[in-house]
Amino acid sequence: MEDSASVLGLLKIVYTIYVFSVMSLMLWFAKGVTNPEGKPRIVKPATFYMYVGILISVGVSIHIFTFNKIPWVETDFKRHTIEKDPSFDKSTQMFNIIAHQNKDKSSADYGKQEFVLPADRLNADGQLEIECHKYIVFDVESNDLTYGFGLFRQDNTMVAQMQVGPGTRNDLMWQFHKNGTYHIQSTEYSGPNGGRHMKIANAVVVKGCEEDDSRSMIGDK
């Protein structure tokens, strides 16, 4: 099963090759267009229309390819059906998280922005423990600012993110297929008190998978 690390690894290779191809093309063009030898070849309209056809195909193919290869796209489209399925147990598969800014001027933490995890759902280590391969919903609520909700590995690579808008639905459905321990951090700027200050290290632990996430293990967890 593909995860974000493998998708980004492929993207890195494909895009680097693309950039070098464009550089080569432009260098070839620059050399050719200044070369006094040889007459310019007339470009036929048919060539132009073929080129436009290729552009349209590429533009559409990217989305068809990712829909078929990136597993979380289908989850996004089917999440309402999955949530309604009797096998989906909200009490174990849904986590309600709050993102907020402290507006109590008398508090020592006035202005502090933080995520609050559901206290009744934490394990002995204070983590959200997630069962492998199960559909999980992170339901994040904000009543003040726009935040971001992101899951990150130990090596800082991103697993997934969503925006957390005030007064709107912010629920991310996800499946984990590797064991690992992940951080929660805000991916959206919500003022100088947000961002890096809104991080809960090692907030999520995934167990029960056949495979470990080599980028996100702490010891054997």
Binding site: V7, Y15, A30, K103, L145, R196
Partner: protein, 547 residues
């Protein structure tokens, strides 16, 4: 030393003779020179932020994010708007062979935009007002974090910029449609059909149905069509930003007068859709359309030939305009409340058409250049090719980000900010603008000589390699999870940040070289003379002898 001082003061080989400039030349140069100076401020701000990424703590966080807030205001409005509006204010009447509707209004336009940009900048610099350019509701009115006076100054500056923008828009539309004194009345219908590019579509349809072309000689030339179309988006964008500005001002005034308003009365998701619809008209509307138009103009001026597939180019510009109104949802792919159908249609599918419209512009420009080979690789040609190269890299990066699968792992990372935005702006747009400036140089300066071609070459390579390098290293950090709008204090991506800062320094040095070259070419006397009233009482574009 004396020779150096003489050149510095009087310019190279006599420099710019400001007394011999027409009011049109002066107003254009005023806007462009001011835009180039604002660009330097934007580069400096950018480099300060890169340095803070290398040594966190260089600025406290509120200061750092205030720099980040004003950076795009200075770069896009202060620099790009001034250069582009200045150039188009000259080019539209030049290409239409009639005087600008109002030179006075053109002067007020650049003054308003420059003054507004400075005012906004002060809102950040003095008060550390820092909701960033995205202004996600209700952050701009979160007075737990920001000083309302700072917000007032910042938004006031933006409002003044938008008023200046409306002045530009009015002047451009009026210039296209008005009938000059002593001229036979210009019929409106062919002008409107041509300015919207409908005549290009009719020509294609008439050809398919075996008839003579609808308009053998279109009433409006292709670059003017692009400027006209882009200006439609500029108008809509100005209205949206002004509306949001007024909304924010209402809340600010409410807070300052002690009658705070409840920010939950504004639906944050609806506001975000409205704001992005308008803001995206800059990125996906006027920039792409103006750039396509500028490429077409430069290709025609450089080659002296007609544009390849010009009817298609006209039709593509209309398509681009419509596409630009329907793509905003790609900014909301990470918002779970946004309906999936909008993400799919507007966010993914329509956005993918930008690959087509921009690809068409690239193809047509390159084929037109190729048809005139051999060309001399002068500053116009090499900056134009570099500009096209920048967009060839930047546009697919955006199409990839505008994919529901990839957006889930790329949104708000440095991928969008550098692989797409800064590649498009610094390499694509800025190098296209440099090409335009070199092309217009003889028209605006009465053909004075450039001080040093060697310095121009250094400027070109340092800018190109610096821009490319910064995009590459920041893009690589994004692959490792580096977020934009985020300060990493534990050296997480240090190697990429150091390399990006070095590339940023190259760009800053490139700008200093360019500025030095311009000052030495014009001379300080000539440069200051641009800002004094013209001694020529004429509406002509250039003095009779230069024309």
């Amino acid at each position: 030393m004396n020779k150096f001082l003489d050149t510095l003061i009087n310019g190279y080989e006599g420099g710019l003779k400001a007394d011999g400039l027409t009011p049109m030349q002066k107003v254009t140069l005023r806007a462009v020179v001011m835009g180039v100076l604002f660009y330097g401020l934007a580069v400096l701000e950018g480099e300060l932020m890169r340095m803070n990424a290398v040594t966190p703590g260089l600025f406290d966080e509120s200061h750092y994010f205030a720099i980040m807030t004003v950076h795009p205001i200075v770069g896009i409005f202060g620099s790009t708007y001034l250069i582009v509006f200045g150039a188009f204010t000259f080019l539209v009447p030049y290409l239409m062979k009639k005087p600008l509707y109002s030179i006075k209004l053109a002067n007020w336009t650049w003054i308003a935009i420059a003054g507004g940009a400075i005012t906004s900048w002060l809102g950040g610099a003095i008060f550390h007002y820092a909701p960033l350019y995205t202004l996600y509701w209700p952050l701009p009115v979160d007075f737990e974090q920001f000083n309302p006076i700072g917000g007032f100054v910042f938004v006031l500056g933006i409002a003044v910029i938008m008023l200046g923008t409306l002045g530009f828009i009015f002047n451009i539309f009026a210039t296209v449609f008005y009938t000059e004194e002593g001229h036979e009345k210009r019929p409106l219908k062919p002008l409107i059909l041509s300015a919207l590019g409908i005549d290009g579509m009719l020509n294609i349809w008439y050809k398919i149905t075996g008839r003579e072309p609808y308009a053998k000689e279109p009433a409006v030339s292709l670059p003017v069509v692009a400027i006209f179309r882009g200006t439609v988006d500029t108008f809509l964008d100005a209205l949206v930003i002004l509306t949001c500005g007024v909304l924010i001002l209402v809340y600010i005034v409410g807070d300052m007068s002690g009658a705070s308003l409840d920010y939950t009365s504004i639906n944050a998701l609806l506001y975000k859709n409205f704001f992005w619809w308008g803001l995206d008209l800059i990125a996906d509307g006027l920039v792409l359309i103006y750039v396509a138009g500028t490429w077409y103009l430069l290709a025609m001026l450089i080659t002296g030939k007609k544009l390849f597939m010009q009817n298609i180019a006209r039709a593509a510009l209309l398509l681009e305009l419509i596409v630009s109104w329907m793509v905003w949802s790609h900014h909301l792919l990470g918002d779970q409340g946004q309906p999936n159908i909008m993400k799919l249609l507007s966010g993914e599918m329509v956005t993918a058409f930008e690959l087509v419209t921009q690809g068409i512009a690239i193809f047509i420009t390159l084929v037109t250049l190729w048809s005139a080979k051999p060309l001399v690789m002068d500053n116009r040609v090499k900056f134009l090719l570099a500009g096209i190269f920048g967009f060839m890299i930047a546009i697919p990066a955006a199409i990839l980000q505008a994919d529901m699968g990839l957006n889930r792992i790329l949104h708000n990372t440095q991928w969008i900010m550098f692989t797409h935005v800064h590649t498009a702006l610094l390499i694509g747009l800025t190098m296209t603008l440099y090409s335009a400036i070199y092309t217009m140089w003889p028209l605006l300066t009465n053909d004075i000589k450039l001080y040093s071609q060697k310095i121009a070459n250094w400027h070109f390579w340092l800018h190109l390699l610096g821009g490319l390098g910064m995009s590459f290293f920041m893009g690589m950090s994004a692959m490792g999870g580096a977020l934009r709008r985020y300060i990493y204090v534990d050296g997480e991506f240090n190697i990429f940040m150091i390399m990006a800062a070095l590339c940023g320094a190259m760009m800053m040095f490139a700008w200093l070289l360019y500025l030095y070259n311009v000052i030495m070419s014009f001379g300080v006397k000539g440069l200051l003379g641009i800002y004094t009233p013209s001694k020529l009482d004429t509406k002509d574009m250039m003095p009779a002898e230069a024309a």
